[in-house]
């Protein structure tokens, strides 16, 4: 392995994009949750919803801020580190990203100000519109970015002219074969990520014997969503896998750890090794099960990695394990959703002792699963950046090794600092939990009023 600007740029891109996706994964779900909370407050006038809105908006502001600034990095890195990619795909991917800025980023950024600072400046209808606009913006943004990434996975609707990609059918460019299932998979993942965090935040207060009407509502809303979406996600993920099998069979072979072609088992635990071109199997199903899962028929022979020349194979270890961790976490989500629903129906939720601890354990599961899922799909696309058409190695910028090494170190330092501080501040808020007298941020804070006193009390509190 040579640490040249190519490998360093890949590491830098992997790190910055993995860091970035954590925040959209959270804010897509949280934006919608806030819109639901504000809608419930306006229709039911139960203060519990208003308190929850003001509580979660503080966390949303922190996470959204980190998402924005880490996202700006992405829009420049295509040029700084992957300039050949930029030149070759600009006429196809450029408009997709351009539309993302025009239809989503401005909407989110502009109405975020109203959402955060406008509670007492605008009427309730307009404020709700602002919250809705931000939530909707996050979904539009997800759609465009998934369209762009799906085109890189399963390119369609294009031709090559003078060595560059050009679009011949925009509908096909945007709606590539993998786009619908991947978008559904990602948005569902974002909702699950948020729901698991909300559930864990409620569980935390229950563990501390500090459950309030607010945390009880949080727990029930989260359980309802997880019990519904986690099993659905299994189905969507499976559909997405079928598309990958059809269009990117080498990726599926890497994720499954298959080397030889033929009827395949499903390897549950093992260690694929690119050098020996084999997988050390610890636990696997009978042969044929893997063929049945992927192709719907146990007798179907499926290709193993050896069916491709070495230069066209993705590395196997990361897709294999990232995929397994993602699926394992997904199953755990189904468990925590169903168990919670069971306790809820039995009216044992508020007295449960073990369950809140369980919710703490699964609180970060969504984030981990999202990052693992993206690792599986992005590493599985290698050695191509545009699958089958443009190799990652051929997409690199003519920049100096030292420049990229320096920027990578800088990125690691800056991101670690920012992430630690953000995690600390979000953690503090989650630990304190929602109070029964949460205030809008633009409430008048003249010295000596209730808000200032409350803030002062918070400072003194241990």
């Amino acid at each position: 392995m040579v640490f040249d600007h190519f490998l360093l740029s890949r590491l830098q891109f992997a790190f910055t994009v993995a860091f970035h996706i954590i925040f959209p994964a959270f804010t897509i779900g949280l934006g919608s949750y806030l819109a639901v909370l504000e809608g419930l407050w306006l229709t039911t006038r139960r203060t519990v919803f208003k308190n929850l809105y003001f509580f979660w908006i503080k966390i949303f502001a922190l996470a959204f801020g980190m998402g924005v600034v880490s996202g700006v990095v992405m829009s420049y890195q295509f040029g700084t580190n992957w300039s050949v990619f930029a030149v070759k795909t600009g006429s196809v991917l450029g408009p997709l990203l351009g539309y993302e800025v025009l239809t989503a980023f401005f909407l989110e950024a502009s109405f975020l100000g109203v959402m955060l600072f406008g509670w007492n400046r605008v009427g309730p209808a307009l404020h709700f519109t602002a919250t809705f606009a931000v939530a909707f913006g996050t979904l539009i943004s997800a759609s465009w970015i998934l369209a762009a990434n799906s085109w890189m996975q399963t390119p369609a609707g294009f031709a090559i002219e003078n060595g560059r990609f050009i679009a011949v059918d925009w509908i096909k460019v945007i709606f590539t074969p993998s786009f619908p299932t991947r978008l559904a998979h990602m948005v569902t993942a974002a909702y699950l990520t948020t729901a698991l965090t909300v559930l864990g935040a409620a569980g935390l207060q229950q563990v501390r014997n500090k459950a309030t009407p607010e945390t009880k509502v949080m727990m029930r809303m989260a359980i309802g969503l997880i019990a519904l979406l986690a099993p659905l996600q299994l189905v969507i993920g499976h559909e997405s896998g079928k598309v990958a099998h059809e269009y990117q069979p080498a990726k599926v072979a890497a994720m499954e750890g298959w080397w030889e072609s033929g009827r395949q088992p499903t390897i549950l635990l093992g260690w694929p090794d690119d050098r020996s071109e084999s997988t050390k199997v610890l636990l696997q199903t009978p042969v044929g099960f893997g063929s049945w899962v992927v192709a719907g028929d146990a007798s179907t022979p499926l290709k193993g990695l050896k069916a491709w020349p070495k230069a066209d194979r993705p590395p196997s270890l990361i897709p294999f394990w990232a995929f397994r961790i993602m699926v394992g976490l997904g199953l755990a989500m189904i468990g925590v959703g169903f168990y919670g629903a069971f306790l809820w129906v039995r009216r044992k939720l508020d007295a449960a002792r073990v369950y809140p601890w369980l919710t703490l354990a699964t609180a970060p599961a969504g984030f981990l699963a999202v990052v693992c899922g993206w690792m599986a799909t992005e590493v599985g696309r290698q050695p191509f950046v545009v699958y089958g058409w443009l190799r990652t190695r051929d997409a690199i910028s003519p920049v100096a090794d030292g420049a990229v090494a320096t920027s990578l170190v800088g990125v690691l330092v800056v991101y670690s600092l920012v992430f630690s501080a953000g995690a600390l501040y979000i953690g503090r808020l989650l630990f304190a939990g929602p109070s029964s007298s949460e205030q809008a941020r633009d409430a008048v804070a003249a010295p000596g009023n209730a808000l200032q006193l409350a803030a002062a009390a918070e400072e003194i509190a241990p």
């Binding site: 040029g79 600009g90 006429s91 239809t103 920027s407």
Partner: protein, 341 residues
């Protein structure tokens, strides 16, 4: 007759970058001015930009994303050429961006650190943008339609001058914004900053203009100034740009000092930026990589430009109207009451 799509896109991007400079310019400038304010004044200063900074920075994303989409070749040449300052800018923008929220959540040491991060991040981001501007104007080494220079090409005396000048310019916008958004002692202080900065920016603009003529002889020729003599007709016919810029800065100086108008200093400083921007356009059009690649050479395929033009034609008016609406909602003097907390 078919539309000249690359030309239309050059105009759209020019407007996007101008709006970025005028809008994010004042909130970055406020970060640059942070060290000169008291802790209480700083809370008013962040309150004056808190609801809008994020949308302001989105114009930078449109600038970068739009360059990628409309002129992929220019994007692919300029970004690697300015690798270090771009990375520096992005890192600095991360610090100052999260600092808005983090300042409110930090306790003693945390708040002090994020106050520093906001200020230093703003300063470094502006300096880096100034380096990019300088590197762009002085010329980029291009071979076979790719960047072929060294990693430190962006660092020259000329780019240092542009970096300092842009920083003072943004600080002027920031101080003028605070004249408009504050009252009492802070406003008096902001007027003082604006007075001194408008004078400094006049000097900087003059220096940068003269240096540009020398650093890039092609720019000199464009303005009618060369080693062989001066083309007076050309120079005089283009002179309104620098004259308006100088006049606007003088106006900003007078209005900031007299104290009669709260909004004119910002508007005049913005006019000066527009004049400087026009001067830049005169110097380099129709190149997007100065004197190497024209906008037609760098443009994306026509069908991509056309698709995006539809989006811009529909969305840009919508964006501009809700942006104006948000500014209107948060009109009037800033108070720390709608700050973070």
């Amino acid at each position: 007759m078919s539309l000249d799509l690359p030309l239309i896109w050059a105009a759209i991007l020019a407007v996007a970058v101008l709006l970025y400079v005028l809008l994010d310019g004042f909130d970055l400038g406020i970060g640059v001015l942070f060290p000169f304010a008291t802790p209480e004044e700083r809370d008013v200063m962040t309150a004056a930009i808190a609801p809008v900074w994020d949308a302001n920075e989105t114009w930078l994303v449109l600038g970068g994303g739009g360059l990628f989409a409309a002129f992929p070749l220019a994007y692919a040449v300029i970004m690697p050429a300015c690798y270090a300052p771009i990375m520096l800018m992005l890192g600095a923008l991360i610090f100052r961006g999260v600092a808005f929220e983090f300042r409110a959540h930090g306790r003693n040491r945390g708040k002090r650190w994020w106050t520093f991060a906001f200020s230093a991040g703003s300063l470094i981001a502006v300096l880096a943008q100034g380096f990019v501007l300088g590197a762009f104007v002085q010329g980029i080494h291009v071979k076979n339609q790719a960047f072929a220079g060294g990693p430190l090409d962006w660092l020259t005396p000329f780019t240092c001058l542009t970096a300092v000048s842009l920083t003072l310019g943004y600080a002027l916008l920031g101080s003028a914004w605070m004249v408009a958004k504050s009252e009492g002692d802070l406003q008096i202080k902001a007027r003082g900053w604006a007075v001194r900065l408008s004078l400094a920016v006049v000097v900087c603009m003059a220096l940068v203009s003269l240096a540009t003529l020398v650093v890039n002889p092609a720019v000199g020729a464009r303005w009618g100034v060369g080693l062989t003599g001066i083309n007076w007709y050309r120079l005089v016919s283009l002179s309104p740009a620098p004259l308006v810029g100088g006049g606007a800065l003088f106006g900003a100086f007078l209005t900031a000092r007299s104290g009669r108008s709260d909004s004119l200093p910002y508007l005049l400083a913005a006019l000066a930026f527009m004049a400087g921007y026009a001067g830049l356009a005169i110097s380099i059009a129709p190149f997007v990589v100065p004197y190497q690649l024209t906008l037609w050479q760098c443009a994306a395929k026509d069908n991509a430009l056309a698709l995006m033009l539809v989006g811009v034609a529909i969305m840009l008016p919508v964006i501009l109207s809700y942006t104006a609406f948000v500014y209107w909602i948060f009109r009037g003097k800033a108070k720390p009451d709608h700050a973070y907390g």
